[in-house]
């Protein structure tokens, strides 16, 4: 059974095989265009493969939106070291649930994408790093991998092409931080999941300090259709400089929440009203988190916008990982800010000072405000502390925690003030706020 009913407005490219029976078997995959892109790729030069990916305007689906073809091009092909393909399946961004469907309904598409990437950079080994909570997906992937080995689609001399490729799954241990590429590599190597100093980037020194292509599940899953359709045709599915389709995970106060494959640049209001069936109970839209909890929030009036990397950047938000969280007029924004900060405080790895201490402090202030013990200066303090984290942390997790807080305080300041007005601490003069309040 599928995750949600498909919408007629979808452009089914990556999800076109979703719902087919026995989708984790090679036979089913082969019967539905499976490995056709790989067959095409083995006839191409590595440069031609990378060129095709560049032409597709495919940008990293993990959240940062870095051009994938360019990333592959950074891998030093003449390096004597082994090269690795690593799939980031540590999907942990709140509001995001697309990678799990790509692995659940079409595991071999991901493997085919990895194989093509391996051809492009000269790798012989790939790892799929799957978050620990996705236990069932590890079983599905392992079954698909075993079948691919059994049918000669993995291992030595695949289908007589002379290409060798091995794939392994590896489970994460429950850390959001390990979705950050360098922390993922540390974890994959068996170490504590903390980020690495970059540069060098994984393309040059990744897994075991060897050249590594590290992309999101959806990024790799896009690759076979790019080769089948041709880069330009694939690019034309989306908006300028934002090629193809992507899986948007629409959640919150909508009638039909779900994961929908839509062209890049699809209008957000249409997404809410037409694809996701409109606002629940006919209530009014209040705000949208456009790409997972780390993205600055959009007010209702900002939501008439094309959902691609560039348009969202223009309004100081981000497309992120495609987790669209829709909130209606009943939503308490102080609670939203607190819920988000509780997540980031819990997930901060503790490596660097601003994120480690900042997230805890912000959470404590938000907890206090939400509990009705806010002080007059708290919104300003939240804003300032979040800004003190922004851009100063070791890895993007600090920014991910700071950005939503800054945007919520800026855009919904009145809701914080309402809470504080009702607080017995509201009248405490600022000079006296140094007394612990015992929350």
């Amino acid at each position: 059974m599928l995750f949600n009913e498909p919408s007629p407005l979808e452009t089914k490219v990556l999800t076109r095989r979703f719902g087919l029976p026995n989708s984790d078997t090679v036979d089913s995959f082969l019967a539905n265009e499976g490995f056709a892109a790989f067959r095409k790729a083995v006839t191409m030069t590595p440069e031609a493969i990378i060129d095709e990916v560049k032409k597709s305007n495919l940008r990293g689906r993990g959240g940062a939106g870095f051009p994938t073809g360019m990333k592959w091009g950074f891998v030093p092909r003449n390096s004597p070291k082994p090269k690795y393909i690593v799939v980031n399946a540590d999907e942990s961004e709140p509001g995001t649930c697309k990678d799990r469907l790509l692995m659940q309904y079409d595991p071999l598409q991901l493997i085919e994408g990895m194989m093509i990437s391996a051809l492009a950079v000269g790798a012989k080994r790939g790892y799929i790093y799957i978050r620990g909570e996705y236990r069932y997906l590890i079983d599905i992937m392992d079954r698909a991998i075993a079948d691919a080995y059994a049918k000669g689609w993995l291992g030595q001399n695949i289908q007589g092409t002379g290409f060798d490729f091995d794939v392994f799954t590896h489970t994460g241990a429950g850390a959001y931080e390990c979705g950050e590429e360098s922390a993922l590599l540390e974890s994959l190597e068996g170490k504590r999941g903390v980020p690495r100093i970059r540069p060098p980037f994984p393309a040059v020194a990744g897994l075991w300090r060897c050249p590594t292509v590290l992309n999101n599940v959806e990024t790799f899953a896009s690759v076979p259709s790019i080769l089948l359709m041709g880069g330009e045709a694939w690019a034309n599915l989306g908006s300028p400089r934002n090629g193809g389709t992507r899986l948007f995970c629409i959640s919150g106060h909508v009638n039909k929440p779900g994961v929908y494959e839509l062209p890049m640049g699809f209008n957000l209001m249409r997404m809410i009203n037409e694809v996701a069936g409109g606002m629940k109970g006919g209530r009014h839209l209040k705000a949208v988190i456009p790409g997972g909890s780390s993205c600055p929030i959009l007010k209702a009036e900002e939501c008439d916008i094309a959902m691609d990397f560039d348009a969202l950047k223009a309004v100081n938000s981000m497309l992120g990982s495609g987790g669209v969280v829709v909130m209606d007029e009943t939503t308490d924004m102080v609670k939203v800010a607190l819920r988000i900060m509780r997540f980031y405080q819990h997930e901060s790895c503790g490596w660097c000072i601003p994120c480690r201490e900042g997230t805890l402090w912000l959470k404590k202030i938000l907890t206090r405000v939400e509990a009705g013990m806010g002080q007059r200066n708290d919104p300003a303090l939240l804003h300032e502390l979040a800004n003190n984290m922004l851009g100063r942390t070791f890895c993007p997790l600090g920014d991910a925690a700071a950005m939503p807080t800054i945007s919520i305080v800026e855009k919904f300041r009145d809701e914080f003030d309402d809470y504080i007005r009702r607080s017995p601490m509201a009248s405490v003069a600022e000079a006296e706020t140094e007394v612990p309040v015992g929350v």
Partner: protein
């Protein structure tokens, strides 16, 4: 060398080698960029975010500790924006910090205090409850207060990278992340205390120092550690003549920040209540306290009487006293007492090595050479346990310069973590095993060889010819036991040789007794023991012999003394000592024990009583050293070097020594990290570590097992 990179830091044009880090280059021109986690020599972590700088053309603030210099880079290290960022980071740091500076050991020398003083806010905006975790004791010396920890990971790095012990790690995450010991609630490690010293705040504290004093109440005396032969500089914190702390935070001396457990914590023997503080004379079979003048008069009278009676007098020196004292002692024995029966417990075959290397320049390795040599070969010693500084140097050489390390040892050693080849060979069989390495060693561009007491006599000559046959420059280190074991050899505290390795026989001196011969000689008239314990396992054959003992403690030998003269420790003396690599370093007097006298003064007083003061010369260390410079080959070292705390290496003699010594007399005490002969047994701290269950590093202890 690639061309230098030109850049500007705070408007000052600078040139730097490509790849240099901004923080280092800035430091060179006097711009101290604040940092907690950065520590040169260890891996970069970039965790504290204090060293942010502005670089023109880059919108983000960059960490100077990871940013290499770039051509034309324009860097600013002090701007309002940076001050604001640092203030913000410090505010975060202090949120869960206990701010217990008034009782914190680190107060006054705390890097966090200094930073907050420089950049911090004047008032706190944090009104929430602080996250707290109680203090833990991890070992007899190491305490950890998680609340004070700022997670800079210096301790983790010095332990894993510097020491190769890996006893510290991080548990939990986020604001609850914490440094943790390797055995859940306690440490099993070298107990070297490097983690404590390197901690920028008061999170890691030592049992010996905690809550003892404020740092500004101490005098900080840089002197040489009195335990093993490596000759580390240790800075003693002294208050009211009491040594309270040993560390080397100024990273001076041949050891930089390195010290082992003995250098940091085993100074407590100095304040032991068992220290001898008054001379004793045996009366009616019992040792009775006496005045210094009575004791000296008694000794002088006895020596004069025995000498006139033509009785054999034996003198036992030690590797625990200064060069000046050893020199003065042998001069007194040979010129005043007219005896050549002078010896000490020999621990390494320095004589044969120097004989084999006679006339060669650059054939002896310094401690620094072990850090710089392209390849190092360790034979017959577990350096991490027996010569910890040499292990540290070799490991740092591997870490920083990718030096090749080879080991030929009886059991596993810590160098195995990074050796190119590790060969197991029983003691005495090392030379045969060495042949297996010939091809690999010949391919090196240079080599430093460190060998223990199992290589002695003919084996040393074989080793040198093996080195010669490799066709590459080879330097040697002959391992010896104690702080001045090497100096005792150099000063001729053996019957075969005069100071500077001059043949005693050639100088017309009679054949003297060696130490075992003295102990076994039934006709010995007197035995004079200076800071040694030769009778710990044996009895003196000459039951009637008059026994004079100078020592700090009532050792087994001291218990048999007829006259016992309390001597000062090396921390209470002036003078020089010579380390395992033949490097001369000067001591500084740190403390004083009422009643004890420096051995030099004791010998001088006896000489004076005998009316030989003018022949012996003044018992002032500088005067004796000046004489040594003239008389002792190799000791004409530049005074400014040692006077400024440096180490000056002595060279092998210019011509063959031409004297064979009996290899059977050479036997190392095989002290471990937690033992140090007599001194170690009077250190309560070392005893507590030895007795503490599971506190010993259990990894590779085959050679470390004491064979005393």
């Amino acid at each position: 060398m690639a061309d230098l990179v030109k850049l500007t830091i705070d408007g000052i044009p600078v040139e730097a080698a490509p790849g240099s880090l901004l923080i280092e280059v800035a430091r060179r021109i006097g711009k101290e960029i604040p940092a907690f986690c950065y520590y040169d020599g260890f891996s970069q972590v970039a965790a504290c975010r204090m060293c942010l700088v502005e670089i023109e053309g880059i919108p983000k603030l960059m960490t100077a500790c990871t940013q290499p210099v770039g051509e034309g880079m324009v860097v600013r290290t002090e701007t309002p924006k940076l001050a604001e960022a640092r203030k913000g980071t410090l505010e975060f740091l202090l949120t869960n910090h206990p701010l217990d500076c008034p009782v914190c050991d680190k107060g006054g020398e705390c890097e966090l205090q200094d930073m907050v003083f420089r950049y911090g806010a004047s008032e706190s905006r944090y009104v929430e409850i602080k996250h707290h975790h109680d203090e833990q004791q991890w070992s007899p010396v190491v305490y950890f207060d998680p609340a004070r920890c700022i997670l800079c990971y210096r301790c983790v790095r010095v332990c894993s990278e510097g020491m190769g012990v890996n006893a510290l790690g991080v548990v939990q995450r986020g604001a609850y992340a914490e440094i943790a010991p390797n055995h859940t609630d306690h440490l099993e490690c070298d107990e070297c205390g490097a983690c404590i010293d390197i901690c920028p705040v008061g999170a890691l504290t030592s049992d010996t120092y905690r809550y003892q004093t404020r740092p500004w109440e101490m005098n900080h005396v840089g002197t040489i550690c009195t335990h093993c032969s490596n000759g580390c500089k240790t800075t003693l914190g002294v208050r009211n003549d009491q040594i309270i702390r040993g560390n080397n935070r100024d990273r001076s001396g041949i050891n930089g920040e390195f010290l082992c457990v003995k250098g940091r914590y085993a100074f407590d023997f100095n304040e032991s209540e068992e220290r001898l503080t008054t001379p004793m004379i045996r009366k009616g079979g019992k040792l009775e306290p006496a005045s210094w003048s009575d004791a000296v008069r008694f000794v002088a009278g006895k020596l004069k009487q025995l000498k006139e009676a033509g009785r054999q007098i034996g003198v036992v020196g030690s590797g625990r006293v200064t060069n000046e004292e050893s020199y003065y002692l042998q001069k007194f024995a040979r010129q005043v007492l007219g005896t050549n029966s002078i010896d000490h417990e020999r621990s390494g075959d320095v004589v044969t090595l120097l004989d084999a290397l006679a006339g060669r320049a650059n054939a002896l390795a310094t401690v620094d050479d072990l850090y710089r040599a392209k390849a190092v070969l360790v034979i017959g010693s577990d350096l991490a346990h027996q010569h910890p500084l040499l292990h540290w140097q070799i490991r740092a050489n591997w870490r920083h310069h990718a030096a090749h390390t080879y080991s030929v040892t009886a059991g596993p050693v810590r160098e195995d973590q990074h050796t190119v080849a590790a060969i197991r060979a029983a003691e005495g069989a090392e030379m045969n095993a060495l042949e297996q390495l010939r091809d690999k060693l010949s391919a090196e561009s240079e080599l430093a060889i460190v060998f223990g007491d199992s290589v002695k006599g003919e084996a040393v000559r074989q080793l040198v010819s093996f080195g010669d046959s490799l066709g590459i420059p080879v330097k040697y280190v002959c391992l010896v036991d104690y702080v001045n074991s090497r100096g005792a050899m150099d000063m001729g505290i053996i019957p075969e040789l005069l100071p500077g390795y001059q043949s005693a026989a050639a100088a017309g001196l009679p054949v003297g007794l060696t130490l075992p011969q003295m102990l076994a000689n039934e006709h010995l008239g007197a035995l004079w023991v200076v800071n040694a314990d030769p009778l710990r396992n044996t009895r003196l054959a000459a039951k009637e012999a008059f026994v004079i003992v100078q020592d700090l403690f009532l050792t087994a030998t001291a218990q048999q003394a007829d006259v016992l003269l309390p001597s000062a420790s090396l921390y209470e003396k002036l003078g020089t000592v010579t380390n395992v690599c033949g490097e001369v370093q000067r001591l500084t007097k740190a403390a004083q024990t009422m009643g004890a006298k420096a051995d030099l003064e004791i010998i001088g007083l006896i000489a004076k009583e005998l009316g030989m003061a003018s022949q012996m010369g003044p018992w002032i260390t500088d005067k004796v050293f000046a004489e040594m410079q003239q008389v002792v080959a190799g000791y004409n070292v530049p005074l400014p070097v040692i006077a400024t705390g440096g180490a000056a290496q002595t060279l092998p003699p210019a011509v063959k020594i031409g004297v064979e010594t009996d290899p059977a007399l050479i036997r190392s005490a095989r002290d471990t990290q937690f033992t140090s002969g007599t001194l170690g047994s009077y250190s309560k701290k070392l005893d507590s570590l030895l007795e503490s269950p599971g506190s010993l590093y259990q990894g590779e202890n085959v050679l470390a097992l004491a064979t005393q």
